[in-house]
Symmetry: C2
Subunit: 428 residues, 2 copies
């Protein structure tokens, strides 16, 4: 495990990441100073940020947040970032719309209030901007000069854009035979975009090798050596949802599962708000959503297992297609502990759900949004999700990025340019 | 001219559109009651909204705006909408980022502060959401039940999304042979999408015919019979820019020209802020930006003409490709009166400018954004735009919608998945 040997060009004692006090192992609780490491030297468990929130007064904190900028930095007091983060060059994602989805609620029979948290409004139109913006601040704190990742889609664009804004070099690794459209979306920001002769596993293996090598010195891989910081970005989804509901917890949340990190961090964020007194302490249920073609967590949930058996993904929901999700066991625990569930829908149901959301709310979601809306529908039909409770469904990306999924959608009529033809087509 | 005979299902005396008092002819000043009409019955000039702002106290108004929602409805007191507009189902665009573009400023030599107003952050990722949201409120006020338009791109998506959210029927007319990608983006919202056997001119001619026919009763064509209301949506760009600058006027603005409506309404918005005392009364310059392949206003400006000679468009900036811009003469007047200019750039310069903006600021703009950035660069090089003054450049759309323009962008290297190959490629 090379994680501990990653060189940082900054002494960790001088690192100012606001309320972040240390890294702490999720498994054994072992603490280490803040640095670009991600695995526990004792037990190889994942490292997380440990905070010191002890100085906060609830009402002062609430006011400070509400007076903050219209982006994730309004929550700077709860994130591993310096207090003046909003003045630094970053892409400043977040504060996306929480849409009251009354039309969709009617179609699904939800009476308790249905909301869509629409993260397609982020700068590169996916929730990845939240985590990358966070990783960028860690990279800056550690004195890194290159921002990097392996990716097959949304992450590449988010890294490219954030690095450009912040004046970092970026170097993104992708399989060399990726679709041209995705290559263009990643390449336009002008950083290094390196095609690896091999599949996505080969790309990842190479990145791990590079992190352990002197050639990788000064490189921040957002979701590898910066992962503990990166992952915290997902907490902001929980903060925003509660603040946008008037500092109230929703009763139910439907969250997509790729690695499972987002779901676990949303739970962490909700727990923090309760502990800080920013929302009342009441139960909430978290539901996980997967595509049938990549449903390792859903399968484990239904089988009553605590561990997740890897799958080989085969689904149109490519941004969720992680066959061996690192946080799978934590997701299972959260779903069970909160009284939620994990469910999956097939590709046809995903496409139907994309169209349903677009038709009812005018929101064009990525396939991942089709997964959460489709799973919500299924959970209601199966009596698992309670339609009389306040429910928030996440859309984490933009339909423009997965146009192929709805490529069959087209003209409802073709007519000649005159009123007679218009009437014949039954359009009057 | 059939405009005056369009039937409204609501008595115009009962229409509540907030501070909007009447429609007034831009040419002869003739006033008519608020209604779904767009051309003066006396002189055929364009009708505009006339407001009654007389009751406003400057400080109260400023506070009311600042306490408003994070979308265009914060400016409801200055728009033709009812006071409770924010509670009605709409796509709620606006309050998009004003990005301090320090990297781009360095490249262009701007020292006075350079900002990009990035309207790709709107719900369907173009500024059209602003005008459509406005037209939707007029349609609601007039009792219309169908929202319609002719379109070849951004407008179709904005109308489809807004109608879906608001529970309106939508019917969008497009040339039957449009590219499949654009058809999908418009069709996904589930409204009627009608292909017309003919070119865009045929589509427009047919829509005019439909408006004058009983078959079009109850139909709001956002940019025809609702045009006076629709056009006002562009004022919100001016309001937001000034509020985001701390209630200050920028010294210079670079605005794209399609029909010219947006530029004229930005000027109107700035004038209103001055008259209301929300910003100080000082000079500002407005620069218009066109693509060389559709530059009727730029050509007229350079020739010193007051009228605009129509062109047949041939440019990659399709969202600006209006060969006979209705507001061309008004644009010429504003550019000259404010001390600005109108300039154009060719397709190659547009592509270069898209890449420049992405590389420096992480903003992936539509071709229209390439036009404004490219024109800004050209105006600075020519000594026309003063780099020592505060300058705001508009990006009105998203690069994901015009991927073809940068299709040549690709991998910077291809390597085998090992460190040796990485070093050979000079990436270390």
């Amino acid at each position: 495990m090379a994680a501990q040997t990653v060189a940082s060009t900054t002494d960790s004692r001088t690192v100012d990441l606001g309320p972040a006090a240390a890294l702490s192992c999720r498994e054994c609780g072992h603490r280490v100073p803040l640095g670009p490491v991600f695995a526990c030297e004792e037990c190889f468990g994942p490292l997380e940020i440990a905070y010191d929130f002890s100085a906060y007064d609830t009402e002062e904190l609430r006011k400070r947040i509400e007076a903050g900028p219209s982006n994730i930095w309004r929550y700077a007091p709860l994130l591993p970032v310096p207090a003046d983060v909003a003045t630094k060059p970053n892409i400043n994602p977040g504060w996306t719309k929480l849409v009251k989805a009354d039309n969709l609620a009617r179609e699904l029979g939800v009476t308790g209030g249905l909301y869509v948290k629409d993260d397609s409004g982020n700068p590169t139109h996916s929730f990845k901007d939240r985590v990358v913006a966070q990783a960028l601040e860690a990279a800056r704190a550690f004195g890194f000069t290159t921002l990097s990742c392996s990716s097959t889609g949304n992450l590449a664009g988010a890294v490219g854009a954030a690095a450009a804004r912040a004046g970092f070099r970026s170097c993104v690794f992708i399989p060399h035979d990726l679709e041209q459209g995705k290559v263009v979306m990643a390449a336009v920001y002008g950083g290094e975009l390196v095609g690896i002769e091999g599949n996505y596993d080969d790309v990842n293996r190479f990145c791990s090798e590079l992190i352990g090598d002197p050639a990788g010195e000064g490189w921040g891989f957002v979701n590898v050596n910066l992962r503990p910081y990166y992952a915290e970005g997902s907490k902001t989804l929980a903060y925003e949802i509660c603040e946008q509901l008037g500092w109230k917890l929703p009763d139910q949340l439907v969250v997509p599962i790729a690695s499972g990190s987002q779901l676990t961090k949303i739970d962490k964020g909700l727990q923090e708000l309760i502990r800080l007194g920013l929302v009342e302490d009441k139960p909430y249920k978290i539901f996980g959503a997967q595509a049938e073609g990549c449903s390792p967590v859903s399968v484990a949930y239904k089988a009553g297992h605590d561990v997740v058996r890897p799958q080989k993904p085969n689904t149109i929901a490519k941004s969720l297609a992680i066959g061996n999700p690192a946080d799978g066991p934590y997701v299972l625990d959260i779903a069970r502990r909160t009284g939620g569930a994990v469910e999956d829908v097939n590709d046809e149901q995903i496409v139907d759900a994309i169209k349903l959301l677009a038709r009812t709310e005018g929101i064009f979601a990525e396939t991942a949004g089709g997964v959460t809306v489709g799973v919500t529908k299924k959970l209601i039909e199966d009596g698992v999700l309670d339609p009389s409770l306040t429910t928030v469904v996440l859309n984490t990306g933009d339909g423009l990025k997965t146009l192929d999924a709805v490529a069959g959608t087209g003209l409802t009529a073709t007519i000649r340019p005159n009123l007679e033809s218009f009437r014949e087509a039954g359009l009057a």
